[in-house]
């Protein structure tokens, strides 16, 4: 019963904050909404017996990544965009049709899926969400992705430095 309440609250919050993320025009507000959404999702993770992931979600995602956003917003300052004609206006219908179509397809997918237990009460999982289980899994079966993530981070670091450097065009470059 607890999960159901949690799910109800968290999913509602996630969807609401999600909607705010994409509708609020000020970057700061949108980013704060994203934090709310991420926290709500973290709650969903908790409900799904994934405490570690939930924790990481809160600490790393909401705590670090989004804060980065806020830094940048602070650096750039709030500048509402001038209202322009929407250049995509003539494609708007296409976009809505496509999105509604996708939603419909998702619904059909969920409705017709034969996946056993999709709509049943969930079975209680083993200890899959604890840090220990995840650590073991990472170092056992998933050492390749684990190691490879470091590459992603290296790229991010190198890339960030490169992009931040003011344009240097010496050494015979044109």
């Amino acid at each position: 019963m607890g999960e159901q309440i949690l799910f109800g609250l968290a999913s509602g919050a996630a969807l609401m904050f999600g909607a705010l993320v994409i509708t609020l025009k000020k970057p700061f507000q949108a980013t704060v909404s994203l934090i709310g959404c991420l926290l709500a999702v973290a709650l969903l993770f908790l409900g799904l017996s994934a405490p570690f992931v939930a924790a990481i979600q809160v600490i790393v995602y909401a705590g670090a990544i989004v804060v980065l956003f806020l830094f940048v917003i602070a650096y750039l300052g709030e500048r509402p965009l001038p209202e322009l004609d929407n250049p995509l206006a003539r494609y708007e219908v296409v976009g809505w049709v496509a999105l509604v179509g996708l939603a419909g397809q998702g619904a059909v997918l969920l409705a017709t899926s034969n996946l056993t237990g999709l709509w049943d009460q969930p079975t209680r999982p083993d200890d899959i969400g604890s840090p220990e289980a995840i650590g073991r899994s990472f170092l056992d079966d998933y050492i390749v992705p684990f190691e490879a993530t470091s590459l992603a981070l290296v790229v991010a670091a190198v890339g960030a430095v490169l992009l931040a450097k003011r344009g240097v065009r010496a050494e015979g470059g044109r």
């Binding site: 019963m1 607890g2 999960e3 799910f7 996630a14 969807l15 999600g18 909607a19 993320v21 994409i22 025009k25 970057p27 949108a30 994203l34 959404c37 999702v41 969903l44 993770f45 799904l48 994934a50 992931v53 990481i56 979600q57 790393v60 995602y61 670090a64 956003f69 940048v72 917003i73 750039l76 965009l81 322009l84 250049p87 995509l88 976009g95 996708l102 998702g106 969920l110 996946l115 237990g117 999709l118 009460q121 969930p122 079975t123 999982p125 899959i128 289980a133 899994s137 990472f138 998933y142 992705p145 993530t149 992603a152 981070l153 790229v155 991010a156 890339g159 960030a160 992009l163 931040a164």
Partner: protein, 106 residues
């Protein structure tokens, strides 16, 4: 240990996940500020994470959790680079509007 428990069926999680994904897509389509676009992408990645973790519980395996964690790292890397690009663009153009980035077209 496969006893059922009082809880929320996977399908509902998937529905929420799907809704979040579509919201992210919608966000990408309607926002002009690249920062907001990046936020929308975060929504999409999160929705996938919900699905991954949900499936992971469904099948009683850790794969989904691992996947979700990897996704978070990737999201971090993407955000870092994305923000770097946004800042560089801002420094160059003094405006943040993807609708004005049309030097390249045709």
């Amino acid at each position: 240990m496969m006893e059922t428990m009082e809880g929320v069926p996977l399908g509902l999680y998937l529905a929420v996940s799907g809704a979040l994904f579509l919201m992210g897509l919608l966000g990408v389509l309607i926002r002009r500020n690249p920062l907001l676009l990046l936020l929308a992408v975060e929504l999409m990645l999160n929705s996938a994470n919900v699905a991954l973790v949900g499936f992971s519980r469904h099948w009683n395996v850790t794969d989904g959790h691992i996947f979700a964690l990897v996704v978070m790292v990737v999201a971090a890397a993407e955000v870092v680079i994305g923000l770097g690009l946004v800042v560089a663009t801002f420094k160059q153009r003094r405006a943040l509007d993807v609708d004005r980035m049309t030097v390249l077209k045709g």
